[in-house]
Symmetry: C2
Subunit: 161 residues, 2 copies
């Protein structure tokens, strides 16, 4: 086969990246995420597909904070998470909506977004973040929105409440 498309010696091409899912993540002031989930069930008929909670750490907490509850609604998935000081690596300023984009190649996706004008925030981390599959990075776009670039979600239902 010919190798017509191979380009050597030039600037490195930005990798092609494909995304497998987009999930709005609603950040709720802790510990109201559980109440918010109940509201979305009652108000919109959302169906909870899974929930991951933080290890219960403080005696005064009646229930552990919600790392991520996964709700199915109108053919889409939304995530609802408690936000508290020092409780999460994905905290944004105040509460707000974050957009989770799942991809098999987190680093390439971040690099592409940065080359387009986004700003990477923090390092790519491993961990049980927001139902991600283990790796997550954060890019803030020029318009103020935060995108979490995550490896595909798995095991979300394991911690279902």
């Amino acid at each position: 086969m010919a190798q017509e498309e191979v380009q050597n010696g030039g600037p490195e091409k930005v990798a092609e990246v494909s995304f497998t899912a987009l999930k709005p993540q609603l950040m709720v002031e802790a510990p109201k995420a559980a109440d918010a989930v109940q509201f979305y069930k009652s108000a919109f008929g959302a169906v909870e597909a899974g929930r991951t909670v933080y290890p219960k750490r403080k005696a005064e907490q009646e229930q552990p904070h919600v790392l991520s509850a996964q709700l199915e609604l109108a053919g889409s998935t939304i995530l609802v998470s408690d936000i508290a000081d020092n409780s999460t690596p994905v905290k944004t300023e105040g509460t707000g909506c974050v957009l989770c984009l799942e991809t098999e190649d987190v680093e390439a996706a971040i690099a592409k977004a940065v080359s387009a004008g986004g700003v990477a925030e923090g390092e790519v981390t491993e961990g049980d973040v927001a139902c991600c599959g283990g790796r997550v990075g954060k890019v803030k776009d020029p318009y103020g929105y935060v995108w979490l670039i995550c490896s595909p979600a798995k095991k979300c239902g394991d911690a279902e409440a």
Copy 2:
């Protein structure tokens, strides 16, 4: 026109409501929505499926504001809209993410959400709002998020740029 809606004669049971689509709508300070669309194409490979613009009203505007651009990304749809003072009935405080929920029965959906603890804001309006099919109402949930309850989108591509 067809016959009028039956007037209700008493308290009605909260109707079952089904939703056909959920679309995060990213509000961007006008006139940056067009730039934001370009960014999401470059950064994430989003594909523009349609765009509706406001009638160009002011001589100083180089281009009309974007009422709603529809982007396909990771199997989902997001909307990107310019927000300017007095330019839109769906304006929220500042910029922010709004969640559009499409349903055939806007009033019933709003009633159900309100009965669950949401607060309806304003009246259900008719018009070319955010690629909705014509009718849209607004519910603010107890956690600060704004949900647009819309009739299903149609004709979005007619104004495709």
